[in-house]
């Protein structure tokens, strides 16, 4: 993602500078992306609404691991912001530290999700709830993975002296925005699939 943008900049920078639009581009993209989750949520509610019994007989959601996961993911949004604050003070070490912690938390989240999948006792095709459950959490997990790769990309790039600085850190900000997006989606997903089915 970032590589493409560097080219963008060089291709149009012959004459006049134009403002950096990458963040705006990402936000526009995320609006579109959120509609994908919107469609999944709508699908879930539609099928739930037309089912005689929800959850289907013998199916239960696990609560403990996902709740811990939720706490980790929400906390990581604050951690990643500390990294952003650090680079705004020209503190590359702080950036690397906090982004490293965020990456770790993201990896723990994914690990927790895999553990949950393995211990649930039902699979993708078991019943209509399981269909929805795995599609939604799986699609979200894919986004966590992408966010994680973006963060690792930032850490990798920051090894070069002066790649990110107080005045030049759009890539850092974009990774942070994406991570917040993944976080917000999870909160909605967790509410729909876990909290509203448990009570």
């Amino acid at each position: 993602m970032q590589g493409s943008i560097d080219v963008t900049q060089s291709a149009v920078s012959h004459h006049e500078a134009h403002p950096d639009l990458r963040t705006i581009g990402l936000l526009t993209f995320l609006i579109s992306e959120s509609l994908m989750f919107g469609a999944l949520f709508a699908t879930y509610l539609y099928l739930k609404g037309s089912a005689a019994q929800w959850l289907p007989e013998g199916t239960e959601v696990e609560l403990l691991v996902p709740s811990i996961n939720t706490i980790i993911l929400i906390s990581s949004s604050f951690v990643i912001h500390k990294g952003d604050t650090a680079i705004k003070k020209n503190d590359v070490k702080g950036l690397r530290l906090w982004y490293g912690v965020t990456a770790l938390m993201g990896a723990i989240f994914l690990g927790g999700q895999i553990y949950e999948y393995l211990s649930l006792g039902y699979g993708l095709t078991t019943n209509i709830f399981a269909n929805c459950f795995y599609m939604m959490t799986g699609f979200h997990g894919l986004h966590v993975l992408i966010g994680l790769l973006l963060i690792l990309g930032v850490i990798w790039r920051s090894r070069r002296e002066g790649h990110y600085s107080k005045s030049k850190h759009t890539g850092v900000e974009m990774a942070e925005i994406y991570w917040h997006f993944v976080d917000v989606i999870w909160i909605i997903l967790f509410t729909l699939v876990y909290i509203l089915t448990a009570f």
């Binding site: 590589g3 493409s4 943008i5 560097d6 080219v7 963008t8 060089s10 291709a11 149009v12 012959h14 004459h15 006049e16 134009h18 403002p19 639009l21 990458r22 705006i24 581009g25 526009t28 993209f29 609006i31 579109s32 992306e33 509609l35 994908m36 919107g38 469609a39 999944l40 709508a42 699908t43 539609y46 099928l47 037309s50 089912a51 289907p56 993708l124 095709t125 019943n127 209509i128 269909n131 929805c132 599609m135």
Partner: protein, 553 residues
């Protein structure tokens, strides 16, 4: 940064040094090129190629329908042609040419930018299209998808599963392309306008593309999810759309039409934009109601998101939904009518030049009104219940998509070809093309309304013998339409190679793309233009003279 880009960058630098006026070499149009003008032309040419393929499929379908029995094509091949004709025309011809083609070529030129906001993303978005088209052709090795372009389950779950899966991947690719392109348009139009241009000096084509892009950004992801769920149902044992296992087929229809109704506006809004550019230039008059036309694009975009259920009046839809969506559907006719009124009022007492571009624009106006009136009847639930899935529907949407969108694309090509290539198109050939297309369209699609009202179902290779004579009329019309492409193709190829040089501004138009050379320089202008007037102040001196005369009189 890949090697290709570095090479390209070097190429740009070299060109800039040697001469500002140097253009791309012909073979650079076949490479991964980030120039928005090259990408625009790549979109148009690729889309036209698929248009020819989709057109041949249509001719084959019409030949089959010349007789009531399924005797020419194997019925499953008929289904595959019918399905892929629709898919190609929508996803590989109209959408990529109207939005990708004209949008990419014109938007930066019209707003006074040197390129799109994200040129590399733009090139990626284009190259997804040939890939998708290749996949679609590949699917014919597996029988071709046969469940119609709507791919409703359960039919799509049981016929030609491999071809259907390839079809889904193909739609996902063009959908991704459309999202990437749209985000580029939104950012470019909103943030890269040349500073001297006020918002009310933004050409109407830009407003139209802005509305289109917002619509694509909001609706395409929903279709993608709907199709991904279908893909899982076909291949991975889920049951989202399988009623016997707790799924729901109507759910698919909601997800599908939440995109695919707005897709109708994706295909017509850019065309409305083309109309708003072509008509004032060739009528030599300021556009009537600039603000009304600009806002009506946004209104269509907004209302268009809430009409999708009118495709589902016969899907067990509850009464309140039928009522709500009938009302919202009829509401769309209002902003559309505003535009039509604006164009007619622009033509009124103009010094009309009957160029090929203008002929197609006026042809569009008449056809779209007919298609639109058909749409109003279909949007009304009580009527729709009777003609749903009959040829009345086929007749209606071909009037808006062929008589509307395709006429608009033709009009745009005749209008901007001189800017894109630096050559004028041959006008007499253009007139022949228009005449054949106009007659062919009416002959093919007008009788279909009658067939539908008589109860002939769509999408089936065989039909009741009583409909044969009218069907043969349609088939003759289809042959004329097929033939109409020949003078056009000859015209394009001949003029591109040997045409008369066009000069910078052959139509005396006022939008910014005409202020640079034809074809434009690689970065569009040596120095960015300064906007001093609205883009539609045609005949201003004459108008002044008139008003003075009136006062004196």
């Amino acid at each position: 940064m890949t090697q290709a880009d570095e090479k390209q960058q070097i190429a740009i630098d070299a060109t800039m040094q040697s001469s500002e006026h140097q253009a791309w070499k012909w073979y650079q149009y076949f490479t991964f090129n980030t120039d928005h003008k090259v990408i625009g032309i790549q979109y148009l040419v690729t889309a036209f190629f698929f248009y020819l393929i989709g057109g041949l499929m249509a001719v084959a379908v019409r030949m089959e329908l010349a007789t009531p029995d399924p005797d020419l094509l194997d019925p499953s091949l008929y289904n595959a042609f019918m399905t892929n004709h629709g898919t190609i025309m929508i996803f590989l011809w109209i959408v990529p040419s109207a939005i990708g083609g004209f949008g990419n070529f014109l938007i930066p030129l019209m707003v006074g930018a040197r390129d799109m906001a994200f040129p590399k993303l733009n090139a990626i978005a284009f190259w997804l299209n040939p890939l998708a088209g290749g996949l679609l052709l590949l699917s014919f090795l597996f029988g071709g998808s046969q469940s119609g372009w709507t791919a409703y389950p359960p039919l799509s779950q049981v016929t030609a599963p491999i071809a259907q899966s390839i079809w889904i991947l193909m739609i996902a690719l063009v959908g991704t392309s459309s999202i990437l392109g749209s985000l580029n348009f939104v950012v470019t139009i909103l943030w890269m306008k040349v500073p001297s241009m006020r918002w009310d000096q933004l050409p109407l084509f830009c407003w139209a593309i802005l509305a289109t892009s917002v619509l694509a950004l909001l609706s395409t992801p929903v279709l993608t999810i709907g199709l991904v769920l279908l893909l899982f149902d076909i291949n991975f044992g889920t049951s989202f759309y399988k009623p016997d296992a707790g799924g729901n087929v109507v759910l698919y229809q909601h997800l599908f039409w939440f995109y695919s109704h707005p897709a109708v506006y994706l295909m017509i809004l850019p065309i409305f934009g083309i109309m708003s550019e072509v008509i004032p230039v060739h009528a030599r008059k300021p556009i009537f109601g600039y603000k009304a036309i600009a806002y009506s694009s946004l209104a269509i975009c907004l209302v268009g998101l809430f009409v999708w259920v009118h495709h589902m009046f016969t899907s067990g839809t509850p009464g309140w939904m039928r009522m709500f969506f009938t009302i919202s559907t009829l509401l769309v006719a209002v902003p559309t009518g505003v535009k039509i009124f604006g164009w007619v009022a622009t033509l009124w007492a103009g010094k009309i030049r009957y160029t090929s571009a203008m002929l197609f624009a006026i042809g569009l106006l008449s056809m779209f009104v007919m298609g639109g009136l058909g749409g109003v009847t279909l949007g009304t639930a009580p009527f729709d219940l009777h003609v749903h899935d009959t040829y009345y529907v086929v007749g209606h949407f071909h009037y808006v998509l062929f008589g509307g969108s395709v006429f608009g694309i033709y009009s745009g090509i005749y209008h901007w070809f001189p800017k894109m290539t630096g050559k004028l198109l041959n006008e007499p050939l253009g007139r022949v093309h228009f005449g054949l297309t106009f007659i062919g369209t009416h002959l093919t699609f007008l009788p279909m309304h009658y067939l539908g009202l008589q109860g002939m179902p769509r999408r089936v290779a065989m039909y009741d013998p009583q409909f044969q004579s009218v069907n043969q009329l349609c088939t003759i019309g289809a042959f004329i339409l097929g033939a109409s492409v020949i003078p056009f193709t000859i015209n394009i190829v001949w003029s591109w190679i040997k045409g008369v040089p066009a000069g910078d501004n052959p139509w005396n138009a006022l939008t910014l793309e005409w202020t640079t050379s034809s074809p434009p320089l690689i970065e569009n202008w040596e120095e960015l233009p300064v906007v001093t007037h609205s883009p539609y102040e045609y005949g201003r001196d004459r108008i002044k003279a008139d008003s003075v005369a009136t006062q004196a009189g």
